[in-house]
């Protein structure tokens, strides 16, 4: 496990989506002038960074068999408080720490209720989605936070080696998330809880602790995403993050993570987020009428998932079953994903 191999990074699960994405990029390079330029491509990466950062946490939640639909509201509360702090002149690092702290606290409440309150995740986060959104209204009185100072917005708008900082943060979070999920004991227990809860219990894994921690991480990363989001735009609007949870969940699921839990990967979620970013970029670049947008997006997502699974199936036939079990004993053995 200590040695990182290419096969670890791009498992069968991700290669399918990667090929679909590359195909889409190829088509767009020909069909849409302006697509294959660095400003456009890096712009897509920066645009998906906020969703992708949350998607790393969401991937862990969904692998344990849970779901977190409160991330949009967590984003809103964190963005509001971070924005107010930045406006009051707190330092950049303090603002980042505050975002992480608030996100972790709100995610921690979700985790406590799911893990120790034994309430289904969808019900807990449905309730907190509404509660946190309400808190956001109470704290803000419906007013926006505007005119954030330049030292703070620099975090969202500064270029570093040709890419704006939000994209670097996304990559950093993805690498750390990948490491935790695949190279640590905790990561393996995340798969174990979602893949076979009884087995995990018998193997001595503290299931509530794992459940609590994944919701904590989901909140924490959404708090970070909120700071990035606020710094990118320099103002916080009252309806920040409405519908955000759907984009995050879509990125994770398009990335091949099973909504039933037990399997999935960070790389997949990042690819899923990038896929969605490329699609919405393409719609404008190809000058597809906005009235067709919903239909086209739906068909592209379905097409990607179908192609992904057929590519995966044919690769599975070529590769021995053995090599997909490498990620640990926690892979589901009931054939649910095959």
């Amino acid at each position: 496990m200590a040695r990182v191999r290419w096969r670890d990074l791009m498992g069968v699960r991700e290669v399918g989506l990667l090929l679909v994405l590359l195909g889409l990029v190829l088509v767009l390079s020909v069909a849409a002038p302006g697509f294959l330029s660095w400003p456009n491509l890096s712009g897509v990466l920066v645009n998906v960074s906020v969703v992708a950062i949350s998607a790393v946490g969401m991937t862990m939640v969904i692998i344990t068999g849970g779901i977190d639909i409160s991330v949009g509201s967590i984003l809103a509360v964190s963005a509001l408080l971070v924005g107010q702090a930045a406006k009051a002149g707190t330092g950049l690092w303090q603002a980042i720490a505050l975002g992480l702290l608030i996100g972790a606290a709100l995610g921690g409440i979700n985790g406590l209720l799911v893990a120790y309150g034994r309430i289904p995740a969808i019900i807990v986060t449905l309730a907190t989605m509404s509660t946190y959104r309400g808190i956001n209204f109470i704290l803000s009185h419906g007013a926006w936070v505007v005119g954030l100072p330049p030292y703070f917005t620099a975090l969202g708008q500064t270029n570093f080696l040709g890419l704006q900082i939000p994209a670097w943060i996304m990559l950093g979070v993805a690498v750390i998330g990948w490491y935790i999920l695949t190279q640590t004991r905790f990561g393996r227990s995340v798969y174990a809880v979602g893949g076979n809860m009884q087995g995990a219990y018998l193997a001595g894994i503290k299931i509530p602790r794992v459940q609590f921690l994944v919701f904590l991480v989901s909140g924490l990363l959404t708090g970070l995403a909120a700071t990035v989001y606020t710094a990118r735009f320099g103002l916080v609007q009252i309806n920040t993050g409405m519908g955000y949870e759907l984009n995050v969940i879509a990125a994770v699921v398009i990335g091949g993570t099973s909504i039933m839990g037990g399997s999935g990967s960070i790389q997949g979620a990042i690819l899923g987020a990038i896929f969605m970013g490329v699609v919405s970029n393409a719609l404008v670049l190809l000058r597809i009428s906005a009235f067709w947008q919903g239909v086209v997006v739906g068909i592209l997502i379905l097409g990607a998932v179908i192609m992904d699974s057929s590519i995966r199936a044919s690769m599975l036939r070529a590769v021995s079953i053995h090599s997909i079990g490498y990620r640990g004993a926690a892979e589901p053995t009931d054939g649910r994903e095959r």
Binding site: A32, G34, F35, S37, P39, N40, G43, N47, V50, F137, I138, H141, G142, A143, W144, V146, G147, Q157, Y229, R232, F233, G234, L235, Q237, N239, T240, M242, G243, S280, N281, V284, L285, L286, R287, A290, F291, Q293
Partner: protein
Amino acid sequence: MKRLTVWVLILAMALATVATFGTMAMAKQITVAMLPKVLGEPYFIASQKGAELAAKELGIKFIFDGPVTADVTKQIEMIDNYITRGVDVIAVSPNDANAIAPILKKAMSKGIKVITWDADAVPSARNFFVNQVTYEGVGKALVDVLADEIGGKGEVAIVTASLTAANQNNWIKYMKEELKDYPGMKLVDIRPSEEDQQLAFQVTTDLMTAYPNLRGVFAITSVAFPGAAEAIKQAGKGGKVAVTGLSTPKSMAKYVHEGVVKNVVLWDPGDLGYLAMYVAKQLVDGKMPRPGTDGTITAGKLGKIQVKADGEVILGPPTVFTARNIDKFDF
């Protein structure tokens, strides 16, 4: 006989004087309770200031109070209290057009005049609605200011709320009408931003890539406008791609001072509150045009104001905020 005539005359004069003073006193004493959607929001604070000014001019006893969150049930509670207390006019910006209707009807049945301002209730539940601007007025102002910025020539695009947003669709309809006056301007695309500033940012960036000759963007929601301006700024196209739209002066002031945005179109909520008080006063005095007829009223510093047959009082053409005046507005 002569003495009797004199006495009768004196008595009549005395009575007339008392009656005159009486009516004058009554007219001066009217009490108006004004409710915003929510307390503390700069937009409504501006309305309150405008209304206070008019109340002073008209000698109105003015009460201003509202819910701390934009909650219609709190408004209903407060209106119920006003009915018990007995006010002459209730002026409300309802958080829900239908939910507020029963309590407003109750107020009207007790002889209290009811006006809505900023947002309407069901028309049968109020006497008049003090509305900001007409759809036509907004559409025309948006196109005119952008045409002025880009010399009436070039490709332009609209970033709207969602494709189903009624206000935006009406504005777009009149914008298209107005664009006919500028044959050099070509509307190349209309994109939704779903009231999400990140999407507005992204769509504006993508529009500039898709249409390299794009000269102007209309961002016609308060959420989309800052997003679109930020996109143009971060792309380094400030001054090359013009952007205008509807938003509050405070959220756009930064972009106006940076030169990315030249004109912000909206109405002045202070004037809206001011007008609401004049409508309240003339409603009690019986000077409003009869329902079902078009007419005009005179409202202090605002001058002649149009009243439509359906009971809508229109503030007038929108206000255009520029670098010269934008810092004067605190909402």
